[in-house]
Amino acid sequence: MAPLLEARGIRAVRLGRPVLSVEEFSLGEREFLSLVGPNGSGKTTLILSLLRLIALREGTILFRGADVRTVRPVHRYRQNFAAVFQEPLLLNTTVYNNVAEGLRIRKRGGEETEASVHRSLERFGISGLRDRNARGLSAGESQRVSLARAFAVEPEVLFLDEPFSSLDAPSKELILRDVESALGESQTAVVMATHDMAEALRLSDRIAVMGSGRILQAGPPDELMRHPADEFVASFFGYETILRGAVEEVLEGSFLVSAEGRTVEIAGSAAPGSDVTFSLSPESILISREPLERVSARNRFAARIDRIIPAGFYFKVHLNCGFPLVSYITGHSMGLLDLREGEEVHCAFKSTAVRVLQMRGLQGGGGRQ
């Protein structure tokens, strides 16, 4: 089945600088696609391009298989969609008028408009705000109005541009639940830009990781998590320590990799000489004041503590053992070990805790783990 919305070779330029260069983009019927990337990675520009709100230097956008340039006037094309931006961007009028505006633009009848607005206000729990001026609402209420306005028109595609990033955690959770429930009742496909991977993992059928105006990798969340295309993508999935090295020696059931002057043992198989990119999850790094001699962990190093960063229920300890390493330890362990920056400690991790992200020059068996 042809995708609902497609883009091929689209490029956009702003102030003489290329800001978007996407070879392929597609969105299926009822699909939830998240665009994940840091600020300035081109997420918003891609959304604005798909909405035809900014001019493209080149490329083609297809909606239901038809080139969107053939749809004139352009607002007829946009009426297939709705958008919610990071700031609620409400009109200086009542909540009712805000939610009704999209329906009025689409020339829906009075009764239909009234019913749709009523349904949408109910869905987002803001019926009581109906006659209030939208400019006097809290951030959470405003974003609910913005979402109610978008859902009221029953769009074929809903574009969400970081819609939850300005909300506090409890408000965000409540609105996320309402959005999930609203999507469950509708046929709408969604493109959501976010830099919050947790949001993306929770809601998405597919994730596209963006950087420097390009889609670096796209696929189902678990596939991207297991096989990130590069270090940039891996960093977005929470891989704190990413290292590269060459296979020095192959053992039985494991192999030794030389990385930044140290040797790391990794469980699995590999061909000697292969280039390996691997990562370590911070939860799997042990820290000890004493040398770790009689433990099952095959990788044991002396390390210096570079930084200790409190992170809520745990501490993030940045170690240097010839290569940088990050370990998470609980407040209880921190109290027990009384760690301080600049101190020498010992760390260890199991060969099975190492995740191989990429292996190049591999000959014969083995592969990605």
Partner: protein, 231 residues
């Protein structure tokens, strides 16, 4: 000081007696400046929005010209309008010289750049993202502009008030193109200048007072509308 006190007392008497000539001058001022403001609003809001929302070569020059126009000296306007509508001028055949219409034209030339400049600033101040939001709702050109005007209505009303103030208070252009003809083109400002020149200070004070009251009432009404919108 006596001159001032006497003038104020006699002016109060004139106003209290409902002097017919002052009333006629006041009504003509309102008609002429009100009409000029109305035309300036249509021109100014349209032009201001067009320049604010579009990118075109020479846009900076256009904005600079509009901003310069906001401070046009009325006598210069009077001179050029006179040249255009002079009997042998390009628009001489229209027979506008020394008519109320000529004053309206001159006041439009004065007030329209003021309304345009303030409208331009008001429309430019609407965040680009709000414009994107309105367009993403599927709004066509007309609805888009209507919603933007509604969003910018507070500063736009300020522009209308400034335009009306500019039209009502100017005197140089009105004298030059209107001729200050009694009962025909005599407005509050031109009458005040004439009466002062003739030494009739009590009449001049009365006219000046009426001018201030008229300006206050119109601005009070517009401000009330503006503040109601705001609240």
């Amino acid at each position: 000081m006596d001159l001032v006190v006497q003038g104020i007392v006699r002016a109060a008497g004139l106003l209290a007696s409902g002097d017919r000539e002052i009333l006629e001058i006041t009504l003509l001022s309102l008609r002429v400046s009100g009409g000029a403001t109305l035309i300036s609003t249509v021109i100014g809001v349209t032009l201001g929005a067009a320049v604010a929302l579009n990118r075109f070569p020479g846009r900076n020059i256009a904005v600079s010209l509009i901003n310069t126009g906001m401070g046009l000296p009325p006598v210069v306007v009077g001179l050029w309008v006179t040249l255009f509508i002079w009997r042998s001028g390009p628009l001489g055949d229209l027979g506008l010289l020394y008519t109320p219409t000529a004053i309206v034209v001159a006041q439009v030339v004065i007030a329209a750049p003021i309304v345009t400049g303030i409208s331009l600033a008001a429309m430019q101040n609407i965040p680009e993202k709000l414009r994107f939001q309105i367009l993403s709702l599927g709004a066509g050109r007309a609805r888009y502009l209507a919603l933007l005007v509604r969003e910018a209505r507070l500063p736009l009303l300020a522009g209308v008030m400034a335009g009306f103030g500019g039209a009502l208070s100017e005197v140089g252009a009105s004298i030059m193109v209107g001729g200050n003809i009694r009962g025909y083109t005599r407005v509050l400002t031109t009458a005040t200048v004439m009466e002062t020149g003739m030494g009739n200070f009590e009449v001049a004070i009365a006219l000046g007072f009426v001018l201030l009251v008229v300006a206050f009432i119109i601005n009070y009404v517009l401000t009330s509308i503006q503040q109601r919108i705001r609240s």
